[in-house]
């Protein structure tokens, strides 16, 4: 991967299948997947799916007229996914940073800077390829600066990325002269407008980034090292992981995701400006947290973050469908964040133990 000796291979067992070969592992111990530690993230994600299902039911109850329309609901599914696509891509990078024990407050500012940079007149002269290259390079570059300051400059991630938030937006404002820069490039603009085989291109991009993130986190040494560093930095260092280099890579990865997000958002709004992607850092962090990633690092899932993003996008959609105010919507979002974290702290194990103590049998 990054040129490091890969000897620190993770010894984490896939304990999900450890329940036994038979289809009926429900012995007296009752150690089903809902009790095992390895099944915990699955449980959390199922909880989020349940929340999502609840939201959809609310949608069907409150606006049944729309769900009867021809092709409307699939259209609405795409509308929700497109709405969440940019934040979703950013949240993948954010998941890595938070699992690695850090935080990145500068993601929205990086999107604004990369978006503005790739829509300057000079860049647009290079065509779609030049614009995409610029956005990715700016995202990656700013991410590397973040990572360098944090790893080698020993700045606290909160401070370093907060400084970058302010500085990157300042540079973006300077570069754009505070004006809205329209993208005249039809190839870029068509990313948000076109579909392939009935699925919007933005959804493909989101899916590709999520799958790549999932593989990187769960199936590579890079991913296992990220979890190790977030779980216990000192142990990771003693295990031979180059913690500084790895941490820098995490912020570079987050920056690269922002570069991809900048292309998407520029295409979506057919323009870029210094004020765009405001509060994306909060949206991304909120999605990652309700997705079950520990804010202190060491644990988290990409799928959970994606579900978090989709839940927030669905709430926005639901409030729009019912013509409710943005204020109410924001209050509900706040409530959902708290509720999701509370639900996740809820110990399923203690419930089953409680039921067992009281001689209540549960079918398994």
């Amino acid at each position: 991967m990054t040129g490091l000796p890969a000897q620190a291979a993770p010894a984490v067992k896939e304990a999900i299948g450890a329940g036994g070969p038979g289809p009926e592992p429900s012995g007296p111990s009752g150690n089903g997947w809902w009790n095992s530690d390895a099944g915990e993230s699955t449980r959390r994600n199922l909880g989020l799916v349940a929340v999502l299902a609840g939201l959809i039911v609310i949608g069907i109850i409150t606006r049944p007229d729309l769900y009867g329309l021809d092709g409307w609901w699939i259209d609405n599914v795409w509308a929700i996914l497109k709405l969440g696509s940019t934040v979703g891509v950013v949240a993948v990078g954010m998941t890595f940073v938070i699992i690695g024990g850090g935080i990145d407050l500068s993601v929205g500012a990086i999107i604004a800077l990369a978006g503005v940079w790739c829509t300057t007149v000079a860049t647009q002269d290079f065509g779609a390829g030049g614009m995409i290259f610029t956005a990715l390079a700016v995202g990656l570059g700013v991410g590397l600066v973040n990572g360098f300051l944090i790893s080698y400059g020993r700045l606290v991630p909160f401070i370093a990325t907060l400084a970058m938030l302010v500085a990157a937006r300042g540079l973006a404002a300077q570069m754009s002269d505070k004006k809205t820069q329209q993208s005249g490039n039809q190839t870029i603009n068509s990313i948000a407008a076109d579909s392939f085989l009935g699925v919007p291109i933005l959804v493909y991009i989101l899916a590709a980034v999520v799958i790549a993130g999932w593989v990187l986190l769960n199936r590579t040494t890079f991913g296992r090292r990220t979890v190790a560093i977030g779980g216990n930095v000192e142990a990771a260092r003693l295990a031979g992981i180059n913690v500084r280099l790895h941490t820098m890579m995490l912020y570079a990865l987050a920056g690269l995701c922002c570069g991809i997000g900048a292309i998407m958002l520029t295409s979506i709004s057919t323009s870029a400006q210094a004020a765009m992607a405001t509060n994306y850092e909060l949206d991304a962090i909120a999605a990652v947290i309700i997705g079950g990633t520990l804010l202190s690092g060491g644990r988290g899932t990409i799928v959970g973050s994606l579900l978090g993003v989709i839940i927030f996008a669905t709430i926005t959609n639901l409030f729009a469908l019912n013509g409710l105010s943005t204020e109410a919507q924001n209050m509900v979002k706040g409530g959902i964040i708290v509720a999701a974290v509370l639900i996740q702290q809820f110990r399923f194990k203690s419930v089953t133990q409680f039921l067992k103590r009281n001689k209540v049998t549960v079918a398994s």
Partner: protein, 353 residues
């Protein structure tokens, strides 16, 4: 497994990084190359009269918030350009910094420089009211631009746009168009700006009142954030909520770029759209008449140009030549004008980018 030479690899990587950096640095320019980029000229389009002739030298101190969107940026460029039109005006702008407190400290240095007149667009009229009082007490007339001081003693002249009137203008235009199409109960959408700003509330109230007077109402309203991406996001959801729409008012032309993008992306064009503020891009689109945007109601940053002209007259002790009074009036509220295809060419020079 081949052995890589780490030195060479680093050299290549470093070279690639440098090359990318050089390429990126070349990409920061926004100069389109054509020389007629002079959108920011001042406006002395009125026929020359006694007032435009050079007179007593006037120093005008100017302060406006750091621009975060096109409208505010246009305020500063317009003021500067208008001042340059007069040979007898010295223009002295101070950086307003990031918030009301920063603007207050910047303004105290401005007072100490003793300009003849101060033109001020405050961060917040209420918060900077005290400064207006202070400057007036020091004998420097204050021209209060757009965000109003609550205290009448705090300014010599207040010149501002009409947010309520903007909503009324948009509502009236939509009502008239709907009647032309014989729609008695049209489905009308609204994309507002930042909802926690008073100006947004005023605009929406005016819109609602004008529609109500014609027996119509807003079917669905979403508040965006005055930025292109929020405009797009809210519009995309509004379109889902209203599978068929007859008319839409979007409060701000800058966020309107995103609103229009959302409509294009959703392949929706069955409605007519009215914009707000009067940006150059919007006026051009209305003139071209090839999108859903058919009209925009102004809240024009040209008010900064007028404020400079009036500040000069105040400094010279002159009145407005068309009025009988010998001095400039105390309050001017600009009407929100309706720009359609028919009159777009007249308004194009006032459009901001």
């Amino acid at each position: 497994m081949t052995q890589h030479d780490p030195v060479r690899r680093r050299f290549l990587l470093g070279g690639a990084a440098l090359g990318a950096g050089a390429l990126l640095a070349a990409c920061t320019s926004n100069d389109s190359g054509d020389s007629n980029n002079a959108q920011t000229q001042g406006n002395n389009n009125a026929s020359p009269n006694a007032n435009t002739a050079p007179g007593k030298k006037v120093t005008i101190g100017f302060s406006a918030p750091a621009a975060d969107h096109g409208w505010i940026a246009a305020i500063t460029t317009n003021a500067k350009a208008q001042a340059a039109e007069y040979s007898d005006v010295t223009f002295n702008a101070v950086e307003a910094g990031a918030d009301a407190a920063a603007q207050r400290s910047a303004l105290s240095t401005l007072i100490s420089q003793k300009p003849d007149v101060i033109v001020l667009l405050p961060y917040d009229g209420k918060e900077l009211n005290a400064f207006g009082l202070e400057a007036m007490k020091a004998g420097i007339p204050v021209v209060n631009l757009d965000r109003a001081f609550p205290d009448a003693l705090a300014y010599r002249l207040q010149i501002k746009g009409d947010n309520y009137g903007m909503g009324v203008a948009a509502g009236n235009y939509i009502a008239a168009e709907m009647k032309k199409k014989n729609l008695s109960a049209p489905i009308i959408g609204e994309i507002a700006g930042l909802d926690n700003l008073e100006l947004t509330q005023e605009r929406s109230a005016g819109f609602k009142a004008a529609l109500a007077a014609n027996g119509m109402s807003v079917a669905n309203r979403r508040a965006a954030g005055f930025t292109v991406d929020t405009g797009q996001a809210e519009m995309s959801q509004l379109l889902q909520a209203l599978p068929k729409m007859d008319a839409l008012w979007n409060h701000d032309d800058d966020q309107g770029i995103g609103v229009l993008a959302a409509a294009t992306q959703a392949n929706r064009s069955e409605f007519l759209m009215v914009g707000g503020a009067g940006s150059k891009a919007a006026i051009e689109a209305i003139q071209a008449d090839n999108s859903v945007l058919k009209c925009t109601v102004t809240y024009s940053p040209s008010m900064a140009s007028s404020a400079i002209s009036l500040a000069r007259l105040i400094g010279q002790g002159k009145g407005m030549s068309d009025l009988v009074e010998l001095q400039v009036p105390k309050e001017i509220i600009l009407a929100s004008e309706t720009i359609t295809k028919e009159n777009a060419s007249t308004y194009l020079p006032l459009g901001f980018s």
